[in-house]
Amino acid sequence: MKLTRLRVEQFKRFRQPVELRELEPGLNLFSGPNEAGKSTLVAAIRAAFFERHRSSAVDELLPWGDSAAAPTVELDFETGGQAYRLSKRFLHKKRCELQFGSTRLDGDDAEGHLSKLLGFQYAGRGASQAEHWGIPGLLWIEQGSAQDIHTPVANATDHLRRALNESLGEVASSGGDDVLASVEAARNELLTASTGNPRGVYAEAIKREGALGEAIREIDSEIALYSQKVDSLAALRREHAADEAGKPWVGFRAQEKDAVARLDAIEGVERQLREARQQAAQLDEKARLLRDRLDGFARDEKDALTRSTARDTLRQKRDDATLLVDQWKARHAEAATRYTSARDTLRLARQEDTRRGLARQLEELRLKADSSAATLARAEAEQASLRGLQQQAAATEIADADLNALREQQRQIREIRIRQEASATRLHFALDDGRSLRIGDETVNGSGERQLLEATSLHLPGLGRLDIAPGGTDLAGLRHAAADLDGQLADLLQRLGLASLDAAEERYRSNRQLAGDIRAASGSLKALAPRGLDALRSERDSHEARARDSANALALLPPATPDAASLPGISEAESAEDAAKHALDEIRARLSDAELTAGNAQTSCEAAERELAAARALLDTPDRAERLATATRNLTDTLAEQRKLQGDIEALTRQVNEASPDFLRQDVERYRRSAEQHEKRFTERATELLKLDVELQSAGAKGLDERRAEMLRDQAQASRRAAELARRATALDHLLGLLKGKRRGLTLRLQAPLQKHLNRYLQLLFPGASLEIDENLSPGPLTRKSAHGQESGDFDALSFGAREQMGVISRLAYADLLKEAGRPTLIILDDALVHSDEGRLAQMKRVLFDAATRHQILLFSCHPEKWRDLGVSARNLEHLGA
């Protein structure tokens, strides 16, 4: 649809005619400041279409303060290749005229045609409301309402659907949603919406059916019990009648009586039998006593005989025992003698042995004492020699230090002499014979030589004197040193008692020799008396003392027997003594046994003698023979009596056995009990019958079967109703499922083209984003890529600016869709997108430019500078009113 011309007159801001001509088929930008009339123009277009020309509720179309005006709009547009001219005048001289081709429509016809053409409705009465605006309501965006998309879409849904259907070439259901709603409502009356469980009347019907079933089961069991009772009543009555007729207990009573009589008779016989048995028992006792008595007599005689034999035997025994005692006595005496002899031999052997031992010991001790004395003597001699040596050594002893001092002094003296000699003035003289001179104090003759060690005066007799002073140094010192050393040497020698060093050396040598001798002598002594001489002496004394003791002991022994040599050894004598002792003990025991036996035999023998005497005394009583005869006679009589009684007892016993009184007694009991039971049963049954009768009467009064029939009837009705409702519920559920499924399928198919268009714009605004469309064709959640991956948000949760942008592109998509369906599309944006930032606005411009290649777009703005790069020049509305 393309609007080519718009003319308004007496319309709101424009009292004077204003005309927009030569509108572009694509974008048309109208600019102007506020109050310039942009909104008036938009209002004019809307009124021309939406408001009925006859409407009296359009006063707001009037110019201010001019109620007489007749707001007029004239529009030229072209759609579907057909040019239209619409003229509409409101409030005064109301008129509507639509011309296209050769057709000219007036009034309602024209408006009807328009509404169908564009897809909107008129208000029934009053001013047109948003709900009537349909497709134009969606595509003509009023100021500040671009973000509101759901309501306009809802108002246009039917038209959009139709358009979609046409575009799909299919037929959607015109009344489908109503049907679906009806079915859903009907279904939800019977089934819960969520779980599909029975509810409402359906649930009640099921419950009632179940309750009746339960009640029927209850009454069934009650009826079964009742029937059972009726049956047992019948059975009891039959039994009762039979009993009443037959009276079975009477027969049993008669039988009981009969049995009692028979039992009485046989009990008499039993009494007789008991008496006979008692008598028999007495006879038995009597016979027994008599036999005992006779046995007593026989026993006495036998006893005497037995005792006589016993006595003889015992006598023999006693004699044998006495003999044995004598034998053992003799053997005992022999054994005692043998034992004494053996004991003496043992004593002598022991004595001789002691003697020999002591003699040997004495000899040994004496030898030892002698040896000790000899050793001691040698040791004493050795010790004396040692002592002499030691004294000698002590006399010649010279200390090593002294010897060395002597040697040193001797050496120094020699050294000084040499030095003196070396330094001394030698004076060699040869005097004529007889002549003498004095050198110093010495008078010399002949020849000789003197060394002058000091100033010396030579007295030449007669001649005078010559004083010679040696010229060498320190001769005086040497002389003093020599004198000192000589003094020292002399002192030492004096102290030592020696004449010279040589003597000292000599003493030293002999002392050393003595020391060697002492060592040898003390070794000899050590060998002889390792523990010293005193030990040797005490050893010698001890041997001597012990020898004396042994000699004393020996002296004390009795004198040796002459035949000592023939005595056996001690051990031999000991075993001989032992054997003799054993033999003696053995024989003594045997002897005492034999003596005991003999004593016992004697005692027994004496007792037997006494018993025999007593027994014989008994046999010799005077009335014994008479008493024996009497007893024998009595026994014979008793036995005869017994035989007779036994015959009686056998006869009675037979009689009782034949009658079986035990069975008879049981019969009596049996018949009695039978009779009692029948009587009792009869009474009980009568009571039971009475009880059953009452029970059944009262139960019968309940009309159980009729109640059951009523319940069955009600249950059948309830079941039928439940089944009907179940069928209805199932059918409705099925139908609802089908309807929803089909509708969903259809919706999906319908949405596909819309989605396609929407995506085309969406990619410009939010690359990679997708916008869902709900079943009312309204935009749903927007899914787009973000830093966190995919994120999805409801349309209403978007920012105002974004919602506005989405609102515009959704509308453009609807327009595309409508266009494809061959529907007229005209897009009006009144001051839209004022909340978009520059970036988005730039994108929106691309979107709009693209859309304008398919649709005519009228864009009204008070910010023309924002739209300069839209590729169209803005028409300034300020100049229109002029």
Partner: protein, 375 residues
């Protein structure tokens, strides 16, 4: 000449759960009114004796009120009534009869034969040989004793029994409570009045089932009658005339629909049902939605007229025609749904599909109607 009215199987206390409550009540009520009609008829006809051959009551445990109501309903005939217990109301040790006796419900002119012994009446002078059931089920022939029972000479011998005459039923059916065929002849009876079958049936010249006087089930041919029996004297063959006594006619009709004229015919038939008709209708075959609607209308209307109408349409296949769908304005996906439901009638859930289709058609109809009304 003696005039007897032979009836049986009143089944007093029987209820009818298969019908709607109000209908069921009326049908149960009818059993009493029919007895009253019988009594009135007997009085009017000058009947000498009314014989009731068992199953007077439908069950033993009926309420005392019911017992009283029955005997009150019989008050219209003051002559003698003779009845025997049947299998439903057998003369047990404690039974509906002992209770009726105890509560004093049985009027003097009514004789209940609880024992198998001859009953000699003075007016009319007849010898009655009853074979009452004293157990719910017997397998011995309780009429066996008739032949051996001597009755005063010159009196007509009339047997009264309840059970199945052997040899006239299909093999294996109702073999309990047997009655030998030819019992009337063999027992030297002038007439043998039988009960148990709910349809009137002649067994032989002297032996009849009266049937129930008021039909109580769909499968009971020749029911709703009583027998007027005229005996000229001992040995003479009885003249038996069936009398219609039933208030309601029970119809069990199965109809297969194939072409639209079948529907028209059926609609006519349904339209013919009146207040005395109890109808059970089983439909099969197929019809279009228009036909279905016609039928539903007809059935709905007939329900208002007939005593009761049970219609089973579950075997009737719905085949909407293009016209149907167009008429329903079932465009778009509704059309798809209808097509799918139609096809679904061949599937395993045919019933569900059929019901759903009928429902959908109904809803569309309603919407169209309301849309039409709005327009």
């Amino acid at each position: 000449m003696i005039k007897l009215l032979h009836t049986a199987d009143w089944q007093i206390g029987k209820l009818f759960g298969q019908f709607e409550p109000d209908e069921a009540t009326l049908l149960a009520e009818a059993r009493f009114t029919t007895v009253a009609h019988l009594a009135k008829f007997a009085s009017a006809e000058g009947v000498d004796l009314i014989l009731v051959a068992g199953d007077v009551f439908d069950a033993q445990g009926v309420a005392d009120k019911t017992i009283h109501r029955l005997f009150n309903a019989m008050a219209g005939f003051a002559g003698p009534w003779v009845m025997i217990p049947g299998n439903h109301d057998a003369g047990l040790a404690e039974s509906v009869w002992t209770r009726a006796e105890r509560i004093g419900a049985i009027p003097a002119n009514v004789t209940v034969c609880l024992k198998a012994e001859p009953l000699i009446l003075a007016r009319p002078a007849v010898a009655l040989l009853p074979a009452p059931l004293t157990q719910r089920i017997t397998y011995t022939d309780l009429t066996e004793w008739f032949a051996g029972a001597d009755t005063p000479a010159g009196l007509p011998r009339i047997g009264l029994a309840h059970g199945s005459v052997q040899g006239i039923l299909a093999e294996g059916i109702d073999s309990s409570n047997p009655i030998a065929a030819g019992r009337a002849e063999q027992g030297r009876l002038d007439y043998l009045a039988l009960g148990d079958w709910h349809g009137t049936k002649q067994v032989d010249a002297r032996c009849w089932y009266a049937g129930t006087p008021e039909t109580d089930r769909f499968r009971a041919n020749e029911s709703g009658q009583a027998l007027l029996v005229e005996l000229d004297g001992p040995g003479a063959l009885p003249r038996v005339t069936p009398i219609t006594t039933g208030q309601f006619r029970w119809h069990d009709q199965s109809v297969a629909l194939h072409v639209s004229s079948d529907v028209d015919q059926l609609v006519e038939r349904i339209a013919a049902f009146g207040p005395a008709d109890v109808v059970q209708l089983s439909l099969s075959g197929h019809t279009d939605l228009a036909g279905h609607r016609c039928l539903a209308d007809a059935i709905g209307k007939a329900r208002g007229r007939a005593r009761s109408l049970l219609a089973d349409l579950s075997a009737l296949r719905l085949e909407p025609t293009d016209d149907d769908i167009a008429a329903l304005h079932a465009d778009g996906y509704l059309g798809d749904v209808i097509a799918e439901l139609q096809a679904g009638q061949d599937g395993p859930d045919a019933d569900v599909a059929r019901d759903a289709l009928a429902l959908l058609a109904g809803i569309l109809d309603e919407q169209r109607a309301s849309a039409g009304a709005a327009r």
